[in-house]
Symmetry: C2
Subunit: 264 residues, 2 copies
């Protein structure tokens, strides 16, 4: 009863806002982690329809015992404009997944998803520093992961997406951060392969990369969570690769969110 015993008028609030909201796991996970760290704090779910974000943000901003916000779909892009300050990666993407208070009460935003993806890979043996990496998917997740990889020291980043315009746009966005090129979904010569597409969620999806070209020296990561071992990770394991999955990314992001919310 640790959490309930501490719930009181002094409890600090960290709502997660999104729509739909019923599927989010952060209320239980983050609240448990707050308790484990001895904090009287709780993450509560708040359903916020897309059209109502402005009014809700104006309201929540005026509640001083709300110390932070977790942002999920569909608000990750629109929430950015309510941040007075933000990390360089959040600015680059125009996206925030977490917000905490500045000393003056305004919001500081960050986007931790890409960082957490890379952390999950590193925790399982990947060495992105100096690596050559094939990234599949140049959408929201892919963009965040691309930045995470470059921040981790990736030397050569090859990006593939069936939508070539998205690749061109992302490469433009990443200009100056490292060597980034467009390429085919061929892992040959790469140290890491990262899937940032939904491919593997539906039965019968093709592999996002040429699975028969995977080698034991390659580290293979997948963003997909909650769908068991995806066909890509099955192929990677069969080829002798080390792997990381979307659940491990989600676990990493929880700890990062907690550190961020507590100002670390």
């Amino acid at each position: 009863m640790k959490m309930l015993e501490r719930l009181s008028g002094e409890t600090r609030l960290f709502p997660i806002i999104g729509d739909p909201i019923i599927f989010v796991k952060s209320p239980q996970r983050l609240t448990s982690s707050f308790a484990a760290r001895g904090r009287n704090a709780i993450c509560v779910p708040m359903q916020v329809p897309e059209a109502d974000l402005e009014r809700v943000m104006h309201g929540l901003s005026r509640i001083p015992n709300i110390d932070g916000l977790l942002i999920t779909m569909p608000h990750k892009f629109t929430a950015f404009k309510y941040c007075a300050t933000s990390s360089a990666r959040a600015k680059l993407l125009g996206v925030v997944s977490v917000m905490r208070r500045n000393p003056d009460g305004s919001w500081h935003g960050d986007m931790l998803d890409g960082l957490a993806f890379v952390q999950a890979q590193k925790d399982r043996g990947a060495q992105p520093d100096g690596a050559r990496v094939l990234l599949i998917g140049a959408g929201g997740a892919g963009s965040a992961i691309a930045i995470g990889l470059l921040e981790a020291g990736v030397r050569d980043l090859i990006i593939h997406d069936t939508d070539e315009a998205r690749v061109v746009h992302l490469i433009g966005l990443l200009a100056g951060l490292g060597r980034v090129t467009a390429g085919p979904p061929d892992p040959t010569g790469c140290d890491m392969v990262c899937n940032a597409t939904p491919m593997g969620m539906a039965a019968g999806d093709p592999l996002p990369v040429a699975g028969d070209l995977l080698l034991p020296s390659m580290f293979v990561g997948d963003v997909i969570a909650g769908h068991g071992v995806t066909p890509l990770l099955q192929a990677a394991r069969a080829a002798g690769c080390k792997t990381a999955n979307g659940v491990q990314m989600v676990e990493a992001v929880q700890e990062m969110m907690l550190d961020f919310m507590l100002g670390k």
Copy 2:
């Protein structure tokens, strides 16, 4: 861990809004009661400065998994205007202490403090129906209690306040609800005596009524909570009266709030 186990994306929210907020007991009490009734619901504290109520209300109204609000100082009067509908007693006072959703998402307000005060008396043997009652204090608490007493069938209500204008105002407000008159703080001839003033909170406060005129047949109730047995209740017990105190009122109001929030 019952509460924490159920905390999830499906949890329904019932914030309590006020300023200061750190002293409120509803988050733990109401949340425990929700759990005891098998509800995945939580009461969370929200500090809302007086000047920010409008923006906060506009925001909270747009969060569909907020099913109800508890209102405490300084918002009990101002929150009334955000209620599309309200009980007759809330309208009379222009005050709400609780709000729940109407089917269209708008707010329905009520003011349960007076009702809870009377319930605490009845639970301990008072019989307000047909009674003659002396009420001390014509402020916010006194006004709510006056209505609660008249709704419970009090035949004669005598109100005393050192501020005579407040008594005149309250008697005007209660016109049509029953026989209400101004009078001295003399319990002679009364079945019940109710203190709705802060007298008894500070050391050296005089008794709100003439204590030497209390008789064993009188029921004596006090709104003061958290200050032990007040001098009035000490005098009442010494005189052989049955009594009820402010803590018992607070307990009664918790159950009433829960019933109200759950639409009962």
